[in-house]
């Protein structure tokens, strides 16, 4: 039998991590408990984060919004601050997993699992999210793009915990867009996804563009080249078509059971064409 711990404070957690460094940490259980049962990870103990109040909730801190790592997707979907400032994240959360998975799974879990197909990741990349990492007697902040190193790999060290995600409020973007292509609507692991935030002028000119693709590389893929191909131009089929062609070469997908690399390249480009809906 594995011991299961439910610490109530971070201080209790740091003590536990010292005593049981080999224990697996989970919050919603929708990734870790599945892998544990499948024998993909082993652990002699389990630490569940769901009772640590400090890790839950959304805090509006003026220019920034702080999201506790153990905040569930359902809580984020219902949060007025997230709804107001980060619609691109809301769009991704609303197609993540299924209702019960959203009731259980957390944003911190989605980040630490570091799957290239993690639905919250492309929105967090375009929003230039930072993560907060804490340990017994220290803390640091770093860009999400430096925290995630590869498929399932993060820069978390022993005894460290991802405690929160920070997003800057930006009045810049008036277009928030997320689309996921999967094999079905619910419970789909993305074949390709695209998050885009744009600042579009009244005349339809793209003044600023941030794009990120999921499931087409070892981590979420961003492309300055494609963003440059959009910025300064009027949203049109031509502009988007050229950017889509560039996007097909910017991504580096693999063949797997869900789709071929060639199909993913095509879709990664074609998903950009949907931005025509935001032409003025």
């Amino acid at each position: 039998m594995r011991e299961v711990f439910l610490p109530r404070t971070l201080d209790e957690l740091w003590d536990l991590l010292l005593r049981r460094p080999e224990a697996a940490i989970y919050a919603g259980g929708t990734d870790v408990l599945v892998k544990l049962r499948a024998g993909l990870i082993s652990a002699s103990g389990l630490i569940c984060l769901e009772r640590i109040e400090e890790l839950r909730g959304v805090r509006d801190q003026g220019d920034e919004v702080y999201i506790g790592a153990a905040t569930t997707h359902r809580a984020l979907l219902a949060d007025p601050v997230i709804q107001e400032y980060f619609p691109v994240l809301i769009q991704a959360l609303s197609v993540l997993g299924s209702p019960p998975v959203r009731n259980m799974g957390t944003i911190g879990g989605n980040v630490v699992t570091a799957s290239p197909a993690g639905d919250t990741l492309p929105p967090l990349y375009v929003l230039d999210a930072e993560v907060e990492v804490r340990w017994g007697d220290g803390a640091k902040r770093l860009p999400l793009s430096q925290f995630i190193l590869g498929p399932g790999k993060t820069s978390l060290g022993p005894g460290q915990l991802l405690t929160g995600v920070r997003l800057k409020k930006s009045a810049d973007y008036n277009v928030h867009h997320f689309e996921k292509v999967g094999q079905r609507k619910a419970l789909a692991i993305a074949v390709v996804s695209l998050a885009a935030v744009l600042k579009v002028s009244d005349s339809g000119r793209i003044e600023k563009a941030r794009l990120a693709w999921g499931s087409v590389g070892p981590t979420v893929i961003r492309s300055v080249e494609v963003e440059n191909a959009l910025e300064g131009r009027i949203i049109s089929r031509n502009t988007l078509g050229r950017a889509a062609a560039l996007a097909q070469t910017a991504v580096s997908p693999i063949d797997d059971i869900r789709a071929s690399a060639a199909y993913r390249c095509t879709v990664a480009g074609n998903l950009l064409l949907r931005l025509i809906n935001y032409a003025r």
């Binding site: 209702p99 019960p100 009731n103």
Partner: protein, 154 residues
Amino acid sequence: MKINFVLNGREIELTVPSDIRVVDLLREELDLTGTKESCGSGECGACTILVDGQSRLSCLMLAAQLQGREVTTIEGLAGDKGRHPVQEAFVSAGAVQCGFCTPGMVLAAVDLLERRPDPSRSEIREGLSGNLCRCTGYQKIVDAVEMAVHREEG
């Protein structure tokens, strides 16, 4: 370990291995076999229960996590006055084929109607999208939830 929680309206105290899955605790230890297990990995919804009123997958929860919670399984849904309106509607609409997904579907619908008392048909489909019916009897299941909405109104 010793855990205390409210199960279908009754406070209980149990001594259980802390890492036993909730679905196993319910079915094997407590003989509440209304909760089903199918995929065991969170993809089918057969093991759905309500924890503090929200739908959860009992195959992805460990017994220790029940401490202090209120749990409702399909066995506890009917009240003193008889079946829950959603259960009643499933019977009237004939929304049951083999029945294996039914407990999960009913509890998912109860959770949905709690959040959204007057859902559209597409919102019902979305609300039940975490639950698979291997008989593919979805139309009547959605009909049943629609029927439950109107009954609750009336």
